[in-house]
Symmetry: C2
Subunit: 151 residues, 2 copies
């Protein structure tokens, strides 16, 4: 019996290897993981795994479309398995947390910029910067130091 990932890898023309399955496992558990998180996580199943191997695996996955690479400004690249639906991201300025968002207006409104200056656009990448709920709360805590938070 073939697991889903084994199947998907073969479909994509990639060999099925332990590093690849481990990386896919970690990505399933952490929908927006950076290379380092993936290395650490994948070592649970494959202790000798090297960072370079993970970079290689990720490049392979991205190139066949099984994974997508996102690069929030000023932070290490993140990888996700949710592909092909042109969704966007919310990034917390404070802690770096990332959440998915679908585009607000219709399917891909931003794919129609007012003036393309001669460019042929194939992707609109949208990053919403802000503060996640947790960081809003700790920011409020710090500026107030009131409320029921004992000790």
């Amino acid at each position: 019996m073939e697991t889903t990932w084994t199947h998907r890898l073969r479909e994509a023309g990639l060999r099925v290897t332990r590093p690849r399955l481990s990386v896919l496992d970690v990505l399933s558990a952490h929908p927006h993981a950076d290379a380092d998180t993936i290395v650490t996580g994948a070592r649970a199943q494959h202790p000798t795994l090297s960072p370079q191997t993970v970079y290689g695996v990720l490049e392979a996955l991205v190139s066949v479309g099984l994974a997508r690479r996102i690069e929030p400004a000023g932070a290490p690249a993140l990888f996700e398995l949710r592909v092909g639906d042109n969704h966007h991201h919310l990034v917390c300025r404070s802690c770096g947390a990332v959440a998915d968002v679908d585009c607000a207006v219709g399917a891909a409104p931003c794919l129609s910029p007012s003036d393309t200056a001669g460019f042929v656009v194939d992707e609109a990448e949208v990053v919403f910067w802000g503060l996640c709920r947790r960081c809003q709360l700790s920011a409020a805590d710090e500026s107030e130091t009131v409320g029921g938070t004992s000790a």
Copy 2:
């Protein structure tokens, strides 16, 4: 008589120095320049200028709002003087050329994602990826090798 930049720097509470004026000069001439381009360009006026100084100048300019930093994925950061109008960017996948675009729909449509997942959003960063006119042409040239282009 004070030049515009001298004035603007003082307004922002920054001292007027040669490195700063040089960097501003280069940015006027290259609306989307990376740190390296700025160093090279600014050395025309100030030959001993070091990269670290340029980073310092850029950080100062960005922090007072005279410049803006943009970080296209997979490329060094770029800096521009056009600030405060929430415009977005077209980036060429092939040559890295950057052009400005205003947002298509209304003032800031993308600031209203469908589900903010608890985030308080303060900026929507939009990058349109595609091929600039020049790269479309060279791509066509390579695949065709027909047409009137003599030798």
